[in-house]
């Protein structure tokens, strides 16, 4: 009988979700759109950045160099400039993000084993992009000069080759797929559950549920179960989209990935339940979710801004942000392909947080109206 009572409750909850187009859109369609937006619009990848050349040599090797840069896939040649003055114009018009200036007698200097002069000028109004562009151009030029420098006369010198391990192509998918997953799970599980529980309070149905023989944990679990299902759907959809659309390799153990995701779903749910016990109306729950969950997820989890670059105070603050730990574990598993022993700390922290939230929720759950 108690079993049937509970199933009855869960099926009611599913009906609420399925009949409310707005909720359905939020929980099922929004994740897809969000992932696509992060993937295609807010991309930090460099592809076909426009650049211009001011060539004082116009000799064989200088042309070879330009050709090499243009064919790298990162740069797109917009044209040659005629004078130094034109550089600023090109930046201001937005024609180029980077200008390569090649000094005179490039060919001869290089062949004669002297220093060939060149200069890279970037538009640093977007400093991150400028930095990346400059270093890309630098490394292409370095390898080019190494090949042509006094051809046939090997010379001992230090050759720095940097490699971007785990993300050699600097794909932003590595950053935004795990990030979006965290954001969506927070939104769907924590925010939606806290709202759906407080809705019963606001409607007055909680009064009737409270005086029914249903136990408080049955009420809460019954409200939460549908969202667990939705959260898993979201995880699957996001991972599949990551693999098929953004060519994200899943290097780690899929089972471990699912396990860690489940733990985070549980964590987010307990946080949502805690919020619902603290707030009396949907608006309050929404507000608390926004400030307690969304902003920290975006700002302090390392999703967009690297934790290492934050002021010390914010770094400490980020330690108590649940998404930080999940994101870190997610990246370790998905991208580095590591096993459980490398995410043990993250898993333990999340377990601890979940326990604390659940204990607090049980303490705070009101069996009466006050």
């Amino acid at each position: 009988m108690a079993q049937g009572r509970f199933l009855n409750f869960v099926s009611k909850e599913f009906k609420h979700i399925l009949r409310d187009t707005r909720t359905l859109l939020i929980v099922l369609v929004m994740p897809v759109i969000q992932l696509l937006i992060f993937g295609f619009v807010i991309s930090s990848e460099i592809k076909n950045a426009d650049y211009a050349v001011l060539d004082y040599s116009h000799d064989y090797l200088s042309k070879q160099l330009v050709q090499r840069i243009s064919s790298s896939g990162y740069f797109n040649l917009k044209g040659y400039l005629n004078s130094f003055k034109e550089i600023e114009k090109a930046f201001k018009n937005g024609d180029a993000k980077l200008v390569l200036v090649i000094g005179s007698h490039f060919d001869r200097k290089l062949q004669n084993n002297r220093y060939a002069e060149y200069q890279i000028i970037t538009d640093a109004s977007d400093p991150n992009t400028a930095n990346i562009l400059a270093s890309y151009a630098q490394s292409i030029i370095n390898s080019f000069t190494a090949e042509h420098h006094a051809a046939g006369q090997p010379r001992a010198r230090v050759n720095i080759q940097s490699r971007m391990l785990y993300n050699e192509e600097m794909k932003s998918a590595f950053m935004f797929v795990p990030g979006t997953m965290v954001l969506i799970l927070m939104l769907v599980t924590a925010m939606m559950t806290s709202i759906s529980i407080t809705r019963e309070k606001e409607l007055g149905t909680m009064e009737v549920l409270l005086i029914s023989p249903l136990k408080p944990w049955q009420i809460v679990l019954g409200k939460v179960i549908p969202y667990i299902g939705i959260a898993f759907t979201n995880v699957t959809v996001i991972i599949l989209m990551g693999i098929t659309i953004f060519h994200l390799p899943i290097r780690g153990n899929l089972l471990l990935l699912v396990g860690v995701s489940s733990l985070f779903i549980l964590l987010a749910l307990s946080l949502g339940i805690l919020i619902s016990t603290l707030s009396s109306s949907q608006a309050v729950a929404m507000f608390m979710s926004m400030f307690a969950l969304m902003l920290p997820t975006i700002l302090l989890s390392g999703f967009i801004f690297p934790i290492e670059n934050m002021p010390q105070l914010l770094q400490w603050l980020s330690l108590i942000m649940p998404p930080r730990w999940f994101l870190s574990a997610l990246k370790t598993i998905m991208i580095k392909g590591q096993g459980l022993q490398y995410v043990l700390k993250e898993v333990l922290v999340m377990l601890l947080m979940t326990t604390i939230f659940i204990i607090l929720s049980i303490k705070k759950f009101k069996v009466r109206l006050e």
Binding site: G204, I211, S212, P213, L369
Partner: protein, 305 residues
Amino acid sequence: MPAIQITNLSKAYGEVKALSDINLSVNGGELFGLIGPDGAGKTTLIRIITTLLLPDSGCATVLGLDTRHDYKKLRGLIGYMPAVFSLYSDLNVEENLNFFAGVFGTSVRENYDLIKGIYHMLEPFKHRPAGKLSGGMKQKLALSCALIHRPKVLILDEPTTGVDAVSRMELWDLLHEIKDKGITTFVSTAYMDEAKQCDRVALIQKGKIFGVNSPNGFAQMFPYKLFAVYSSNIWLHLESIRQMVVCETAYMFGNKLHFATNSFDLRAENLRESLLSMGIDAQVDEIEAGIEDYFIYQLSEKSRS
């Protein structure tokens, strides 16, 4: 053993005293009315009886179970219909009923005989979402949902508020049927004219109960001689009638005027003549006071003191 026993109950919200020193006893199988204006403390009292609020002092027992300590046992034995519409508006009539039956561990079929009277009125709309029902239909559905687990005590918080006159009558008929099935029914309302529907009535104002009696008992407590005065636009003369020496109190009662006097030898024709001399041509009948007259008398006494 009374079905509901309230002893020295007080409850305050911060500085505001919602209930002060309430004593009340409701017998098993009774249809009991709690009557008072908005803000009198009706909902607070009902929430304490239904174990949803704790009193600051005093205690309440329902079916001999204390609402503070035995709330787990008590919940499930009570049927409760809150003042706000508390069904799921996105679920249809049938689904709401099945849901609440399921929550209480029973089924609609099991207790169909109990709600048959109400449910046959709802049957034509059973696939309509609860949110799209009329006010009266909503209340009937809420009543069915509160009854579906065959509670021993049924507690209704202002079930007739915001419901049209016909539906109100129907609801009261239903409550009589429920009472006839042996279920103790406790109803709160702000409408004084509904008092006569109850076996016994408690009058509540500003958190205090000032009288528990049968509707007839209350009527007999009315201390004055009463006349009904019929005349078109009689309300225009209300102020001048109140100035009359023999007038104790006068008030509009529907489309007529009730005139109370302390002079027990005053007769209808005397009053008619006095009114005529004031230029009011009216029909005057001597009448028996009703419970509402007593309430109006009591409420004005209370506000004067």
